[in-house]
Symmetry: D2
Subunit: 382 residues, 4 copies
């Protein structure tokens, strides 16, 4: 992130239509949608924009790959995925940044009879939902992806899933918001939420106080501090490795039990990801690197000769029922939350930005507002 997107802090205005706290992909998408609609938006980030889980993500758009049964979130994910081609053009124009959208599909492999049964079930479910999901024999898979180790039984090809560059998407949202006159304030810690009797909101930060009509909290894993006690968000640590083969080894993203391989546009393959709920230390363990490399080599033997490039970790925020929180906090009018997107933050970011802007304008679809409401658990009991 270069200096140019850091806001000028002196003599800056203090009053905004909305303040968005959290400069991950969710916060940036919301700031983008709101500023695009003509609002005066302030985006506050405690570190650097897009430096947390959003940057650590492999950038998968697995609207189908991640779901095997019907749910409101599945619909939300598919709607969000459908936005990407147009969004890529829009962001390129508004920010100059290419989000590196690749739509060459995902391929889930089955190595055992049990996994094959799951793939068949998934294929049936996807077809019924009107999506394309093609069950391929091992031979057919190998015609598409000839470098895979030929020891699996079958594959499920999801041609409409894909991936983007997670850091580029986050940057593009932020810079496009800025071009729509949003103010970006990095390295600024929010210490307290201000709630005035007249309904005015605001935040006290290390760089002074700022005021707004509507306040949106989108601080990912650090959300817990701002949420009511019964709205737990669990941090889930994930570790990734990236490698660079001498030549392209795979075309589509490969999913297999315990491991995925994403062939990025720049020639790298991202191998992910471990999953440790409740762990938040920011280091990559030796054991995890060894596990990811060993597993990936079993799937795609030729990576043995690829170049090691990097390894990193990200903390993904997960809610109890797996659905994100997108809504107003009960009893706190004008205070909104968007968090808990877990492994699907990149995929869900476009729709989350639009839905939050709709919520603020009082026109969000009831189907989603109810399912992603902050107090849905209490509602369900009644």
């Amino acid at each position: 992130m270069t200096d140019s997107i850091i806001g000028r802090r002196n003599s800056m205005r203090k009053q905004f239509d909305q303040i968005v706290v959290g400069g991950g992909v969710i916060g940036c998408s919301i700031a983008y949608q709101l500023s695009k609609r003509g609002y005066h938006v302030l985006l506050i980030e405690s570190g650097t924009i897009g430096n947390g889980a959003s940057c650590a993500a492999a950038g998968m758009l697995g609207a189908q790959a991640e779901f095997s049964s019907d749910s409101v979130l599945f619909d939300f994910a598919r709607e969000s995925r459908a936005l990407f081609p147009e969004l890529a053009r829009e962001l390129k124009e508004a920010s100059g940044i290419d989000i590196e959208l690749v739509q060459k599909g995902m391929l889930k492999l089955a190595y055992t009879q049990e996994q094959l049964n799951q793939l068949k079930k998934m294929a049936k479910f996807q077809e019924n939902a009107g999506e394309t999901a093609i069950l391929l024999t091992e031979k057919a898979v190998l015609l598409k992806e000839r470098k895979l180790a030929p020891d699996f039984l079958a594959g499920l090809f999801l041609p409409d899933d894909g991936h983007v560059s997670a850091p580029m998407l986050t940057s593009a949202f932020a810079r496009a918001a800025q071009n729509h006159h949003a103010v970006l304030l990095e390295h600024t810690q929010v210490n307290e939420i201000i709630e005035q009797e007249n309904g005015l909101k605001g935040v006290k930060t290390g760089n002074g106080s700022f005021y707004c009509d509507k306040l949106v909290m989108a601080t990912g894993k650090d959300m817990t501090n701002w949420l009511p006690d019964d709205m737990a968000i669990t941090p889930v640590k994930g570790e990734c490795v990236s490698i660079r083969p001498d030549q392209p080894l795979i075309g589509s993203t490969i999913f297999s039990d315990g491991c995925y391989l994403v062939p990025k546009q720049d020639g790298r393959i991202i191998i992910g990801a471990t999953s440790f709920p409740g762990i938040t230390d920011p280091v990559v363990r030796v054991k995890s690197v060894e596990y990811l490399l060993t597993r990936a080599k079993q799937i795609l033997p030729a990576i043995a000769y690829a170049q090691m490039e990097n390894f990193w970790t990200g903390i993904r925020p997960q809610t109890e029922d797996g659905f994100p929180y997108i809504g107003e906090i009960p009893g706190k009018q004008g205070l909104y939350v968007a968090a808990g997107h877990y492994r699907n933050g990149i995929l869900l970011s476009p729709m989350t930005g639009i839905m939050m802007a709709d919520l603020i304008e009082g026109k969000a679809a009831e189907k989603y507002t109810r399912s992603f409401a902050v107090d849905r658990a209490q509602q369900a009991i009644i």
Copy 2:
């Protein structure tokens, strides 16, 4: 080995044309060739026929795969390999046993540039020697053997190498010799060699003494006891594993750095072999099984789901220069040695049987007698 090939011990004759000590594949081949020529032969084995290294062998006929530079042994190996098709028919008729000859070629894989250079050198050498050796690209190899992990650079296909069942070959030699009136004496320990002044030879055993004109020692790794001090034979321990896939995974024998996979006619794949010079304990180590399975899985990932079948070890006798000893012991007229065939005992057994019979009849080719002579080291110095 059924009872029928065990000799009847009571009132058996004591005087033979030749006595062969050692019922491995070498001893059995010699007994077969001599009895086929009409001699009265006694074959003595301390345990059960074909129960040592001969039974442990994977049965490869790697006349080309085992050689990358010119030598007398290379010629001997190729002559021996050429005998197998006719021998298979002959032994089937004389013994009723099918030696399971398969001639689908061997495939050596190169994973690094260095290994590829070696394959190229080998291909050139074989061509110059008039043999077929075809260098294949990775794609061409995968058309032949589509279950291989596609992470190698190239392969060298040797269509004329193959394999037999090592236990079946040894049994067939023994039973065919018996059908030519050779006497087979199992579970009989030779305690002493008898040398009479009149040139008559013989052996004292736990089952009495036996006499002959010519005595052939073919006791493999136990040879050291009978050889002059300067004729060291090193025992080399090798461990193998066999597995049984649900369906055929490879057609040809696969050779790779540190591992080979032999697809036997009965559906098993033999994975071999470790190599520990000087070690003679008859157990298979955990480490070796893990090494062979891991290495084989890297080459042929689908074996992960194959059935474990067996594991075993064999002790291969190796001479210092890698050539076998086939000849008369200097200063001991009528006392012959055939030993030290190391990894190529099965391949070299037909020619060794013929050469020993020729030696005894005084008509062996000088080219071979000199190179395989017991005292060749001393000759070389002069």
Copy 3:
């Protein structure tokens, strides 16, 4: 299993007090207890006695190691464990067979903070239940078991758990029952259950029909054929490997995430076990051997140099709630079931034998009859 325990089939009696179908450890224990109480018992086994899961078991008596929360089964397991010392003496006298009871404790290792938390919880639970469970630092564990790879955080020592030889225990029960005049009929398939109007029971077999007052079905994984539809028993395939180190490497049984190592009295270490629900093919997969060896080597590196000895598989019958079925089948007076002991068949066999004998005599403890009742699921709903 020697011939002596196979019943003489000619002119054998046709009418018994009880018939027990299934010659695994459960059936044999029941036959032993009933015959010891003076009944005329017939034990029918379709194959050879103790040749199924009972023989495949590692023989662990993990009354504590297997439980981390309170349940009736935990009480049952502890009562059963307490019977072993006296039972070992009794069976030695009645059958001449040593069941190789070893009571040197079990050691559960924690490698991560999460596992350590589980051990602490388990230790607390066990203490509250009046059992000994000692949490040891890594250093303290290494003083006891100095060959363990020193990479864990802590260990929980359960000094009162132990193990027996599973095949010896099964044989001892069978032979002791025989000495109490039970008749053992092997290689006899039960084709049909006979239910007469007068309440008399019986079975039609390939070797004729036999009759009894009470019929006990103890056929493990094959139980499903005999049970009402809503009483599912799932077969769970487990694979084991045994190795033989040159010297003892561990004293107590080692439990770790995904693997256990049992040091048997005869010097072997049994490494177990994979777990595949719903799989019943009787082969050991290459992948499983590799997994068990790799995991065991991580825990106990010195096994690298141990001798490979054997590998095998067993199918353990598991009920839905994890409790065994021990009771009368509702609506079928005189027809009893004992099955679904899953991984704890060896441990639970003594109490199961006693409880079944008590049930037949109408004096079993209500605490257990209710919890292990065949129709407990229906009861729970009401």
Copy 4:
């Protein structure tokens, strides 16, 4: 390397007593010794000082660990090792840099009988040479290093070997030379060697020409360009990984078949090293990382939970007989070479600096000048 050691290029002098080409540890040590003796020295480096193999080194001072038979190089290595304690003080004073000298010994482990025999031979040889080398049983080793996987047979402890920080040593030599008025010229490519008739030497570079009385070439793997044809230096690629455990795991440096672990003063452990002769691509392969981590985990299981830190590669220059070239090029008076130190550049750098200064002053020990002479191969033939 900060700016301060980059020479000011404008109006700099053109004439020096000596020019040293190559800013690795060898070139820097030579520049230090010469400048310390009062000469005007120019050090030219094509990249940044200490950025090649010198920086990639683990910094081991294995004067004993690397030798198992007598040689002039063994003497040279021991003399060089003995210089380190005084050198550390001297460089600290002259440069302010701590070279992080640690002298806690090296420990070589034997896992097989063959390796144990080698250790015994080595121990005997070292004792005869007057060095301390203590053969320890497994138990004794584990008292010293209790985190090692207890699966080895014995260890050889060499208390006088140790290690330094390779980058710090190189920087310290360079900066100390600078403090003795040497001029350091980085990012300067030498295009041609100038040889005037009057014996004056010089170099044409991208930053102009420089002249001197004596020219020393110390360009490591790039030496081949400057050497006569028959003086081959083979580049040998080596890859390393560094990890950071939560707490110290080992005290001494651990050597084992195929892997070493060096516990650096800053808490890291360096795991090295692969060895690929003739390979010079500057990337770390996936296969190498996996190999090093797997092997290290077998030796020291607790590294599984350590933090991954970094990975890198270095190209070590190796001569045919393993001895470095230190001497004048025959027929080129005033032109010197110091190169080919292979894995021992750090260890040998102090003595190489001193010997080169002595050579230039005409007083180097004949024992070393003969053995390290550039044309020793030709001399040997005569």
